[in-house]
C-alpha cells in the first residue's frame, strides 16, 4: 500500500502542478465569477423586493391607550420615513406577551413590543433584537410625544427560538447545504471524465502503466483533481464572501445547523470530497474507456443525468429523516454525501458521520479498483482468463 500511495502521490503532484500552473486554470477560476456576480445582483434585487413585500412585523402588547399612541406614532413615522422603513405593528391582547411569538399564525411576529411607554420592553431572538431595537426605540419616543425626559430605551428579553422555527431553520440550512454540495460536485466532477485523454493521446499511459499500478494512476489523478476543485472552491468562497460583505454589509443569517457551524462546515468539506471522489472515480473509469475528446463529450450526457438522479434522491429525502427513502439515500453511495450533509444540518451526533465517511471511502476505493481493472482489461487489453473482473477487485494491484 505505501508504494501504491507513493506512486499515486507522484501522479497527483504532476497533474496538480500541470493544472494549477496552466493558463486554463485562471479561466477555470474566472468561470463561475460572472454567473455569481449576476446571481448576487439578482439576489440583492430579489432580496430588496422580498423585504419590501414581507415587512417585518411585531406584536404590540400594551394597554389600550398606549397601543393607540404607538400605532399613531408608527403611522406618522411611516409617512415621514416611508412605509418600508418602519416595522409593522399588530395589537395583540394577551396576558403573556411572549406567547405571541409561539401561538399559531402569530409566529410571523419577529418579536413583541410590550411593557408601557414609560418602561417599554422588546421580546425576541437576539438577532431580531439587535436589528430592530433602534427603530422601535424611535417609535416609542415618538409615541411618548416628547413627554419623557430621557430618550426611550427598550428593555430587552431574549428568547430562544421555538422548537418549530428551529426545525424549519435547520431544514433551510440542510437544503442550502445540499444544493451547494450538489452544484459544486456537478460543476467539478464532470471534468474528471476527460482526465486520461491526455495520457492516451500522448502515449504516456504506456510509461505510467509499466512503472506504477493503474490503481495508483487513478488515485493520483483523482486527488489532483480534488485538490484543484478545493482550490477553486476556496477562491470562489472568498470572492463570494467578499462580495456579500461589500454588497449586503454583513453575512446573511442562516439558521445554525444541529451539529453547529464549525463541525457542519468540516463535514461539508468532507462530504464534498467524498461526493467528488465517488462521482470522480466513476467518471474516471468511464472516461478512461474513451480515446478521444469527442467520445468523452458523448459520455458526459449520461453522466450528468446520473448526477441529477442522485440529487433528486437526496433532495427528496431531506424532509424525511429516518424514513426508508432517507435511509436508502444515506446508504446508496452516490447520494450518501448529500443525504448525510442534510442530516448534519438537522440531527446532532458525530458517529453517524464518521461511519458514513468510512462507508463512502470504501466505495471510492472499490470504484477506483473497478475502473482500473476495466482499464487494464479493455484499454490495455490485459484480460486474464484466470480471474473474473469481480474477483480481480480484491487481488493485488
Amino acid at each position: 500500500m505505501p508504494e501504491l500511495l507513493r506512486a499515486a502521490w507522484v501522479i497527483a503532484r504532476r497533474d496538480f502542478a500541470a493544472i494549477i500552473f496552466s493558463k486554463a486554470f485562471f479561466f477555470f477560476l474566472l468561470g463561475p465569477v460572472f454567473p455569481l456576480a449576476i446571481g448576487i445582483a439578482a439576489g440583492s434585487i430579489g432580496g430588496q423586493v422580498a423585504r419590501d413585500i414581507d415587512q417585518p412585523s411585531f406584536a404590540l402588547v400594551m394597554s389600550a391607550g398606549e397601543t393607540q399612541a404607538v400605532l399613531k406614532a408608527r403611522a406618522a413615522l411611516a409617512q415621514q420615513l416611508g412605509e418600508s422603513r418602519v416595522p409593522m405593528l399588530a395589537a395583540v391582547e394577551t396576558d403573556d406577551p411572549q406567547s405571541a411569538l409561539d401561538s399559531g399564525n402569530d409566529s410571523r411576529f419577529l418579536g413583541v413590543l410590550t411593557g408601557s411607554l414609560a418602561k417599554p420592553q422588546l421580546i425576541g431572538t437576539e438577532s431580531e433584537i439587535m436589528r430592530w431595537k433602534g427603530p422601535l426605540e424611535l417609535l416609542v419616543e415618538r409615541a411618548r410625544a416628547g413627554g419623557a425626559a430621557a430618550p426611550a430605551t427598550l428593555e430587552t428579553r431574549t428568547v430562544a427560538q421555538s422548537a418549530g422555527s428551529q426545525e424549519q431553520g435547520r431544514l433551510v440550512t440542510a437544503q442550502v447545504g445540499q444544493a451547494l454540495l450538489v452544484l459544486l460536485t456537478m460543476l467539478l466532477a464532470g471534468m474528471v471524465l476527460s482526465n486520461l485523454v491526455e495520457e492516451k493521446t500522448n502515449k504516456i499511459i504506456e510509461i505510467l502503466a509499466a512503472a506504477v499500478p493503474i490503481d495508483a494512476i487513478f488515485l493520483g489523478k483523482l486527488f489532483a483533481m480534488l485538490g484543484m476543485a478545493l482550490i477553486g472552491i476556496a477562491c470562489w468562497t472568498a470572492l463570494a464572501l467578499g462580495a456579500i460583505l461589500i454588497a449586503a454589509n454583513g453575512l446573511p443569517a442562516l439558521p445554525t445547523p444541529a451539529t453547529g457551524w464549525p463541525l457542519f462546515l468540516a463535514l461539508g468539506v468532507g462530504y464534498f470530497a467524498m461526493a467528488y471522489l465517488l462521482l470522480g472515480s466513476l467518471f474516471l473509469g468511464i472516461g478512461a474507456m474513451a480515446s478521444t475528446v469527442r467520445e468523452v463529450q458523448t459520455l458526459s450526457m449520461p453522466a450528468t443525468m446520473g448526477q441529477l438522479l442522485f440529487f433528486f434522491l437526496a433532495s427528496y429525502s431531506v424532509t424525511r429523516l429516518g424514513e426508508p427513502i432517507e435511509l436508502v439515500a444515506v446508504a446508496f453511495p452516490f447520494s450518501s454525501p448529500f443525504a448525510m450533509l442534510a442530516r448534519a444540518a438537522q440531527q446532532d451526533g458525530l458517529w453517524q458521520h464518521l461511519l458514513a465517511l468510512g462507508w463512502q471511502a470504501f466505495w471510492v476505493l472499490l470504484l477506483i479498483r473497478f475502473g482500473a481493472k476495466l482499464f487494464r482489461r479493455n484499454v490495455l487489453k490485459s484480460g486474464s482468463g484466470k480471474r473474473g473482473l469481480i474477483a480481480g477487485l480484491f487481488a493485488r494491484p
Binding site: K203, L208, S382, G383, G385
Partner: protein, 313 residues
Amino acid sequence: MTANAIEAHGLVKIFGRQRAVDGVDLTVPAGSIFGILGPNGAGKTTTLRMLLGIVDPDEGTRTLLGTDHPLDVARRVGYLPEERGLYPSMKAYDAIAFMGALRGLPLAEGRKRGRAMLEEHGLGKAADKEVRTLSKGMAQTVQLLGTLVHDPELIVLDEPFSGLDALNQAKLERLIRAQADRGVTVIFSTHVIAHAERLCERIAIIANGKVPFTGSVSDARDRLRPQVRLETRALDGPWRAALPADAAPEGHFWHFTLPETGVEPLLRALIEGEAGIQSLSIERPGLHDAFVAIAGADAARQLEADQQEAADA
C-alpha cells in the same frame, strides 16, 4: 543479481481470435544485450508488455529480475515504449525527473540528474524548454534519458531505433553498449537485422507470435550450412557429378551449400575431374539468411518491407 534477468515460459496472449503471442519461451542472461528480432505484428511489443506486467499473459509464466510480479521491481527497470510519449507542457529536465520519480527516484535528485544527462548528451540548452518545442529527435533523447535516469538494472527498449536518423542510431548503439559495459541487462526489439547483428549477444527470432529460435547470433547463422561460390574454366565434364544436388549454375559460377563432408573431398573431385578451378570461396551465411531459414520466407519478406518503410521514413 539473478543469473537470468528475464525468464519466460509458454507465454500466450490472445486478442479476440488471434493468438498474438503463442507459447513464447525466453531466457535473457543478466548483463547481456538481447534482441527480439521480427517483422511488425510478429508479437514483439506484446511480449515485452507481458514481461513488464503492462498486460497479463493468458497463459504461461514470466519472471523479471527474480519476481513474477513485475511492478514489484519497477524501480530496477527502465522502459522505452515503441510509441513515444511525454507530457508536452513539461520542461525537458522535468520530464526526465518525472519518469525517474515514477520509478522511485526522488524528484529533486531526478531534476539534478536530468540536467546533467541533457548536458552530457549535448542538449543542455534544451533543459528548460517545454517538450512541445523540442524536435522529434530531441524529444526521443529526452525520453530515453528518462528511461535511464534512475540507474536501472534492466532496460527494455521497444523499437528504440525507429524514427532516429543514422547519427542518432549510432549514438544509441553506443549508449546501449555503455550500459551493458556497466553490467546492465538490455533487451530491445527491432525489425532491423543490422542492429541485432551488431549489438546483440543473444537474439530471439519471432514470427507470427512464435519464437522458433533463441540463442547467439552465431548460433543462428550456424543454423545454415556455409555457401560455396565456385568458378570453373570448364562448363561441363565428369566433375559435375561431384557437385551437390543444390548447385545452381550461373555462367562459369556455381552456388551451392557446403556439403556435410566438408570442402576437401569436393576439391579433390573437382581437380581430378579437371574442372579448372578459377576461384572458390566459402561464405558464412548472414543473419538475414538465417532469419529466412528460421522464420520462413513470408516473415523475411515482411521484415524487409518493414526495414524499407523505416528507411523511407
